[in-house]
Symmetry: C2
Subunit: 448 residues, 2 copies
Amino acid sequence: MDENPVVTTLLIRNAAVLQCESDACRILRSHDIAIEGNRIGAVRPTEPGAVAGGCDIVDADGQLAIPGLINTHAHVPMGLFRGLAEDVDIVSWFNDHIWPLEANLTAEDVFWGMQLGLAEMIAAGVTAVADHYFFMDRAAEAVELAGSRAALGWAVFGSQGAEGVRRTASFAREYSGAAGGRITTWLAPHAPYTCDDDFLRAIAEEAERLDLGIHIHAAETVAQTEASLATSGRTPIGVLAATGVLDRPTILAHCCGVTPGDIELMAGRPCGVAHAPKTYLKLAMGAAPVLELRRAGVPVGLATDGPVSNNTLDVLESLRLMAMVAKHETGDPREMPVGAALTVATRESARVYGLPDDLGHLAPGYLADIALLDLGGAHHQPLHDPAASLVYSARASDARTVICDGRLLMRDRELLTLDLERIRARVGESMARLAHRVPESRIQLYRG
Amino acid sequence: MDENPVVTTLLIRNAAVLQCESDACRILRSHDIAIEGNRIGAVRPTEPGAVAGGCDIVDADGQLAIPGLINTHAHVPMGLFRGLAEDVDIVSWFNDHIWPLEANLTAEDVFWGMQLGLAEMIAAGVTAVADHYFFMDRAAEAVELAGSRAALGWAVFGSQGAEGVRRTASFAREYSGAAGGRITTWLAPHAPYTCDDDFLRAIAEEAERLDLGIHIHAAETVAQTEASLATSGRTPIGVLAATGVLDRPTILAHCCGVTPGDIELMAGRPCGVAHAPKTYLKLAMGAAPVLELRRAGVPVGLATDGPVSNNTLDVLESLRLMAMVAKHETGDPREMPVGAALTVATRESARVYGLPDDLGHLAPGYLADIALLDLGGAHHQPLHDPAASLVYSARASDARTVICDGRLLMRDRELLTLDLERIRARVGESMARLAHRVPESRIQLYRG
């Protein structure tokens, strides 16, 4: 007898199921998804009649099952500062707003801010987030509570020297595989413009020693690339290549300022680009060359960035903006068609996140991270093309039921793991203190 | 004794109230809005304790009251074709998709498609729409049922000749002031590229005779402007000026292709520009010079365009995209700040819509068109800045209660005037027929 009999622990009945592959996508109508523990056991046509009992059943009639959305770059707890840095340029955004605000931040703030953002993301169908911030032990505690999946990195600056390397590495070592395996970890130096070459080299060595990846901001704007060239004769991507960072699996956030030469450097290396188009529009950072990166084989993942630039954690909005900005920038509305956009949102985001064989696809063997979207709203009717509706009509509020690692985190729009009322009250109590800026205590100065 | 005593018919209690003026906005906290019939009687601080009975009371604690959103240019019944023209260029969009699809359109389709779109808009806080389409008598019937406000124009092409002029004019004459005054009417020639000068001149004369305005597509792209210059030596705006159209109150849809000279021509004339940024991004039509138009004193109103290019009727999304694209295009994140964006969404959209003294402002004497938004969702927390949250975090689904002309159209997210289940079923029955394209019966051929 089989010592580990296959048991369906959760059954999704009668969903439309999205599957993407190589820039094409298809919708399997009336399919069941059988979940076995934390993985998908089967995706099969729904058969009429009753099903064998013994497991929880989610009726998904009229709903579209998609891989849980993946946010490949965020600073989730920055939601605490949402709305406090509007209509300012990027230099002022950092120097007059964000860094003076972060001078107030406590570990306890991060714990509650992370819960707030995870609640926002679960409610929006987002099951995994690559987060880059401070006090990440407390962020991990929030992830543990929420039931979400997270790739966490403790952000450090070159000014912190060896202590900074130790800080990000020791967190990564300690928390790798935490929360029952839902937490993976990355080393998280801030950016080439805030970390010198020695620091980056030390990070790369530590990453190799620990067999971990590196999550870093890179070439955020053309101005940064020009400044880097003027100072060192190398682009930010050139710096990352020279210091060994690009030899490790790497999440490169933004890359609006990469050059064609940079893209050649990136191609074939184990790096991916986290793409957060709402931040680029709002802060006028330019447009990331998403099409060129993808043509070179560099994977692109959807991201929101932090909720002070975004101002939300809405990955569906990132999806729509990515596709629309690609059409706008090239002047060709045929670019980034629906199938390509959805491939980025699913398979390719999983690749950037570092789990290409486990996430981003609804098929047997993949982790059971699933969002069920209700496409019954007036804004989807009549539903001629569910895939187009997902890209161009869907709203975060269409998420109805959300599963991560085989566990229900939201059912029929009710959050099951987090208490939003309590989170909102706790965050509300700290609002006045959080809004107070302390420029003299800022951690860095941005020089553009 | 007063023969017409002022009686509050509906009282909104304890809302935060948005007011905009000259690109600045303020939030009045804890205010009541007293509605008298179809107009606002008072906006005053909420006093503690019970209120006198005799009228319906809406508790708006924790909600933001904004002027009902105004959609200054749409083709609402095109929602019937939602998702049927993705990832194609503008020539194919018209010739291979839209016009062959519209060959199938019946008056009954328009009646149900209009109801569908009005339901979508009410649920999204949109109370008024300037709609430009066919079979507008049946659209008016839907508006009557829905309780919304609409500025309707029966679309005609130059190829229809005198019969076309008669068609749009007789509808406009007959339906002006219909639905208890909620319907205003406009003459609706399609565009300078589909209407010759004689036709436009006849329209302008008819508009003057009827004392009505004209709603028309104009200079949708730079390519259209160049084609017009090559053919006639005049820009599309030049054509509208020469034929007398611009002497009438005019809604000019899109204007991505206007020249600096065009803007000079427009300034000081009674025209406004309907701005539908999602369509421009999706169809790669370029960017409308919103900042230049506004600097010249030409009012800009938010619009969605039809749900085949958009693919929704979400005015909050248009608001956000307008602000973000202005920052992106100028490279300056300080452009189109929150107060300016909200002024466009409220006062200026009312001006483009033709009711500057009646709509777009929550103050005594204005029509009682109000949307109450619930800013309690995780994506707004903590609510440091409600105005910024409205522009950058708000979703259509945040609309909770919607009032038009003093009447509740949605309360606590329940639609009160339209039966969405029935509409969805009726529209669903026609899906296969609606998706069938009949190129040989298309009404026009687009030549770019």
